[in-house]
Every structure is written in C-alpha cells, then in structure tokens.
Symmetry: C2
Subunit: 502 residues, 2 copies
Amino acid sequence: MTARIAHPALAERRMSAEQAAELILPGMTVGMSGFTGAGYPKAVPLALATRIAAAHDRGDKFALRILTGASTAPELDGALARVGGIDFRLPYQSDPELRARINAGQIEYMDIHLGQVAQYAWCGFLGKIDVALVEVAGILPDGRLVPSTSVGNNKTWLDLADKVILEVNRRQPEGLDGMHDIYYGTALPPHRRPIPLLQPGDRIGEPYLRCDLDKVVAVVESDAPDRLGRFAPPDEASRRIAGHLVEFFRHEIAAGRLGEQLLPLQSGVGNIANAVLGGLREGGFRGLTAFTEVIQDGMLELIGDGTIAMASATSLSLSPEGVEKFVRRIDFYRQHIVLRPQEMSNHAELVRRLGCIAMNGMVEADIYGNVNSTHVAGSRIINGIGGSGDFARNGFLSCFMSPSTAKGGAISSLVPMVSHVDHTEHDVGLVVTEQGLADLRGLSPKQRARVVIAQCAHPDYRPMLQDYFDRACRDSYGKHTPHLLSEALSWHQRYLDSGSMR
Amino acid sequence: MTARIAHPALAERRMSAEQAAELILPGMTVGMSGFTGAGYPKAVPLALATRIAAAHDRGDKFALRILTGASTAPELDGALARVGGIDFRLPYQSDPELRARINAGQIEYMDIHLGQVAQYAWCGFLGKIDVALVEVAGILPDGRLVPSTSVGNNKTWLDLADKVILEVNRRQPEGLDGMHDIYYGTALPPHRRPIPLLQPGDRIGEPYLRCDLDKVVAVVESDAPDRLGRFAPPDEASRRIAGHLVEFFRHEIAAGRLGEQLLPLQSGVGNIANAVLGGLREGGFRGLTAFTEVIQDGMLELIGDGTIAMASATSLSLSPEGVEKFVRRIDFYRQHIVLRPQEMSNHAELVRRLGCIAMNGMVEADIYGNVNSTHVAGSRIINGIGGSGDFARNGFLSCFMSPSTAKGGAISSLVPMVSHVDHTEHDVGLVVTEQGLADLRGLSPKQRARVVIAQCAHPDYRPMLQDYFDRACRDSYGKHTPHLLSEALSWHQRYLDSGSMR
C-alpha cells in the first residue's frame, strides 16, 4: 500500500496498466478523465493501444467509444486514434492524429456543449457507460478519491459506469487535496432544485469524488506529468485584440453598464485569451473573478498578483513552468481556485445567474454576426465548440475574437457567410479583431454588417466585403439579411480551389 | 372613475387615445405590451399611426423604435408599419405589413431570444426606454395593475421607461385577476440569486404589476378584443407528425428515459403544435404539465379535460371561441394556469431545471441537423426565432417539426445546408416530418445525415439528398461534416430561379 492509495482493499486491486487494459473489451463505451490536456489517464490508454494494435494484427476488430471531459493528450487520443482504436468520440478534441482520422471519415465525432455532456449521459442519451477510466491524485483511507488536475465529467463517469479503473498518478501535486468542489446535489428532472452557488468562489459540494468501491476493478499507479506545451507570449495581433477589448470594458464602466470589477470572466484557451488577461492586468484591473473552464498559465499569473481574486474552473491546464509556480505557492492558490465538475463550471443556470463575460476565439464570423468556431470550409473539424456555447448563450455578454486574417492573409476571418454556424446571430455580442471591435448589441443584421465591415475586416478584404454587402442589399431575395446565395460561400470555395480567398 | 380604474389620481389622468398619442415624440423608444396577439395596446397605436401619417404629410420625420413582448396585431404593428412609423423593431413579429417592410429593407428588425429581451434592456444594451405603453385589465385602488392576457416584457417596460401610458381594456375578462405571477426578485449581476421555482405551477411573485404612479402620464380606456384568428383543426401532415412524436414518447417511457407524465412541455405556436397536443390527449396522457410561452386553444382544451394539469406561460392567445370557453370556466382555469413575465417563462435557469421538452416548428433542417426557424432562402425573414432558442438550448430535449415539403412540393424542408442557422447541430435532438422522426441524440454529423435522409425526407427529395451526401462524403474537403460548398445552397438558389428545388 502506497501513501497515495490509503484504502486497503483498493490497494489490493493494484495491477499493471497492461492488466487493467485487458478489462476493456471491444465495443465498450469508456468514460475517461481529462480536460484540455490535464488529468487524463496516462498509463492504461497506452497499454490499451498496444492491446488494440495486437488485436488488429490478429485480424480481430477492436474499437471503442471514448467519452472524456474535453481534449486529452497524445498518450490518450493520439495513441488510440493511431491504432484505429476509436470509432466514436465526444465531446472535444485537439489531437492532430485524432483530428486527421475524424476528417478522413474514419472516426465518428460528436461535438456537444461541454456543459451538457453529463446531463446527456444521465438522461441515457449516450447509451451505457461500460467503464470509467479516471486519473486521481490519491485514494483516501475511506475510499474517497482526491481529484487530479481536472474534474471534467469524472463524477458522472464514476457514478454511471459499470466498472471503474483508477489511475493514481503520484506526479500530481498532493496539495491539490482540498482544491476541488464536487457538487452532489444534481438530479434528473422533475427533481432538480436550484444550485446554491451565488459567487464564483462558493463551495457547494465536497472536495472528493465518491465511488462505489465494488465497481473498482483495477487500480493502476502512474507517474507522469500532464503533457502541456510551453506558454508563448502573446503576439502583436493578440495584444491589439486585447487592447480593443480592455478599452471597451473601460467604456462600459464609464457608461455604468459594468462595475470596476467587471463580471465573472470566462476565458477560452490560447494566445488571444491570455493576451486579454494580460491586458486586464496592464489596464490596472484588480480583484476580478473568473467563472470559466480552464485555468492556464496566464490566469495563474493574474491570480498570483491579485488581478483575479477568485477563479472557478474545471481544469488546471499548466505548462511545466506553470506547474512549478503553482506548486511553489499551492497553499496560496488553494484559497483562490475552485475546481468543479464541468457540468457546474459550464452550467446554464450558473452562467446566467453570475452574468459571465464570455470571451472565446473563433474561426470566422460573417458580416451578420454568425460565428464559426469549429470548421474549416464547412467540412473539416478543427477542435470543437467546447464550452463557448454554454457561455455565449447564457452569459451577460458574448465576445468572439480572432485575427482578421489567417494563413498569411490568404484567409479572411470575416466572410459574407460563415461556412458553419456554432453561434448564431442571436448569440454574438462583440466581434473583435486586431483591426477593431464591433459592438453588435441591439443591432439589426444590416446594422451589424456595417459595423463588422468597418471595424473588424482587414483592409485587404474590406472592399470585397463591402462590395458583397452592397450588391446583396440591391439584389437579395429579402433585405432583412441580404445574401446572394450563389456567392455566399464562394470565398471558401475560392480558398479551396486557389489557396486564397482573395 | 370607472370600476376598472379604481385609483383616484390615475382616473384623473384619463384622456383620449389621440391625446395620449401626442405624448409620444419622434425618435422615441416605446416599450409596448403584447405577446402573440394577446394583451397589446389597441387604441393608442392606432391614434399614433394617424398622428405619424399627418406628420409625414407635413413633410416631418416621425418614426419610433418599437419594442414589444412578441407579435402583436394589425392595430399595432400593421398600423404603425403602414404609415412608416417604425424604424427599429424587436423582438418578434408576424404582421404581414411589418414583415413586408422589413424585407423591403425599410425597417431594421432585431431578432432576439424572447427570454433575453428583459436582461438586455436592464443591462442597458437596448438604450433608453422613453415610454411604456401597456394594456392592463384594471387598476387597483392602490395603483397596482391587473395584467391583461399577456405579461410579456411589461414589468421591464414599466420599471425602465421614463413615462408610462396605460390602456385599460374593459373587454378583457375581470377574472384574469389572480392568474398572473409577477416575479420581483430579479437583479442585475453580480446580485442575482436562484429563482425559487421548482414546478411549472409554482407562484413565486405577485399577481399584480407595480408601477411608479408618478411616471403615468396617461390612462386610456379601451374596449376591444384581442384580434386572433380562428382555430383550425390539424391537417393530415400535422397529425402524422404528432403521431410520430407521441410514439417516440411512448418509446422513451418504455426505455425508462421519461416518466408517464413526461416533463414540462414547451409547445410553439400553430397547427403542428396543436396537433401534437391533441395527439397526447388521444394517446391517453394525463396530468401533464406545460412550461411554455403561449397557451392557445389547443392547450386550453387539454387543461380543460385534465390532459394538462398545470400550464405556465406568458400569454393567453385564444380565438374568439377560445375566449368564450375560457371565460365560462375562468375560475377553473385560474387554478391551472399561471401567466408570468416572458423573462421567467423562457428563463434559461428554469428551462434547464425543469427539463422542458421543447417542441417547435421550423422552416427547414439540413441533413446534419442544423435548423432554420426564421428565413426564406437565407435573406427573407418570416417571423423570428421567438423563444425556440431559450428552450432548445437549455431544455431536456429539443424537437423541431415541419412537413417535409412546402409550396405543393416545390420546396423540401430537408436540404443539404440550411440557408440560415437559428439552432445549431449542437442543439437539435429530434427532427420530425410527416415521413418520420429522426432521433439525433448522441450521433455524429454523418450518422445524423443518414437518419435525417432516411426518416424525414420526402420520397421525391430523398434520392437527391442521398446523392448530395454520397458525393460530399467522397469529394468534401473534410469528412467530418461533408459538404460541397459550391452546391450546398444550390437548392435554395434553384428555388429562387425556377420556383422549385427539384
């Protein structure tokens, strides 16, 4: 019995990753931990990939339905996709190998709002969950589980699965103990009650995951870090986007529509999100809050220096340097961070009540304010919608950000009509590029188009957009949302044909 | 002082509709009552239209920003649109005259989720509200207002507007008194608290609207019915759609995913919705609940016979025959109906908690499960999204229904790509036509396409859709959501060019 596995009976169920992988059979649905590269199982999926490859070598079929919290890492999505071990996957991914196979048509992928996965599973819409494979930071003497660097859908997988495989990762900081808040007050309708959370930092549950110990068929010890890349400093475009948004916040404060502490921030992943956070610090904001999915290095810094007083998330997704900083002051951070199930971090009720400011990246927006977050040219998935819809629909304000061009200017991220819609005209409050900010609140489609073209489009594409809009206003079948259908998607087709939208 | 105006000081502010209309000045923003043709002001808008026409005859500019609950009637939207008196309108309309002018590009129209209008207004996103023009059924001795047949956004307009004009309509049943539940516990974030509603019939507020009497600049007496059309019996296609849906519910009950009383029903307006309600009665369902926007004749009948035990809505939108039935048993209905502000009837928190079953009509769906609720050929607005998004996103299950063809078969309501997206692939659970029901829960895009084509498409269009899908699967840039962009909207263009999608 190791210190991390303090429950005697569970300690006896220790086995190798290879032995545990033997318990997962072809065709099973496996609910795995992992959210934006944090807290995913690191040993069993690799062993499982080896087992699947061997089965395929023998000519046997072996593929699984894999459900997670969100994206994982090469040791999970990459390894399983590479051996053809996944035939269905949800709800979010970012692995190059997995993405390639989805776009090759070899893997079925369902892109679902992150805040709705648990409800879907509980309502039986995702079928039976055969196995939960969950990384934890430790097992208490009474069998309760210390969650790892992400909570994700772990509560749901543990509760619903027939069998449970635990990976106890001794590399995860012991100081995580006490940082989590697992809410056990959920129910299926018609038995649901209000969720008693009033502020981002409220603790409404328990620090540990419960688990029916009779279901635990394997405990595997692992010792490997979350595999996350370095934290890159924001580029010029991101800094300019951040500047526009911070200026907007100042304007809203002056107009009395926001207070000095804004409202709880939801911040998507990546370079732009980090630049915005940095911009808030440089802009002198203090004592902010975050009610978001992921805490990355950028947010950790802001918690460290008091810009953000309290952050709620479901995942701690840090670079190796970020982990070092985190561990050094873990007792400080535990006072300022709460990690929750993604069902709670992204819950419609809470996002609406708290009035989150949703700030997310996008692939493209069209002149009427529809946003594509997921697809290239309408067909090829990039990652997935993640939680952007949970926040954009129900929050106080939804903001979508992107540089105005991509691929060295060959692609305009402002187009006549988006090739895929993840956020409709009804759900987009602000569109921001390095060129400027379009405030779409309270505007009709044509009013939006004028602002988007004037404020957000790159000068190389602005005349083309204006020309489309002018001709559409003249020749469109209806003048509410003027479009020329034979031309609306021609920019994307031109890109596919010639490599450029120009 | 009449019996309906029991407050002495307000009785002294009685004046004619013409006098009251003089208080509304060019460029003002007017928040009006009215939701799906119920409870809209009937006298002042007509007088206002006359005043505006006279101003225009003199060569003066005179147009208003008109905000309502939802659709009104010819005396409001029609009359004001006809004289060019509206330059901006939200959030939902269905008037032919108004629609024509929006689609001619003469009126700016913002199509916003009905459940979000109040929040938008309170947050200052819609600008200043100059005048509230609200129909009520009466004024109590202490100045509180007895709401009329709809509540809509009246609380918000009364609270926010600088000035208030009340229309006291003596034609509205006095028995409405006590049927409403106006919740005054709302707040702006970060001060929001859980809304204490656990069941559709819970009363959490007050039966009357509060009003700062100092703001009341006019009280106008009116005597006219809500102008609503006859209630048509469901046609064959609607009955078949209803049949598929009722069969689905039975299947879900058998599978243990729904109880015998289902979950609170949200039912859109119109023929199909009424057919579904009728189908539930014929299917032997009893003691159901509704948490919805509108109670139409169909639902009233079901309340009357016990199929629906309790219905919550924001509007009572009845035909003249429906009104007669309602008035005859008004004391009975008051025990089974609660009318709320639309902010509550459509609130994300409540829709999610209660687990509503959202049943709405659609214009078209595409093979991947994206739904267009609002536009013809991407440009021409029909009515608006209404509350469908409030319920589809946050409920237990979202169902979209339409006959598989329109215009005598010239239009297929299943298309390769919808020409406008109101509900994304992430928000559509079921698609139902008279051909059959596509259960999209838990499916990837390609899996959805196969089910939609096989179950929902009209036989005349099924081979065309299959052909598109097959070629897209072969030739698409990405195989996650296979599309041929140069062809994706060609069905709509063909309809515009030739009058048929065939």
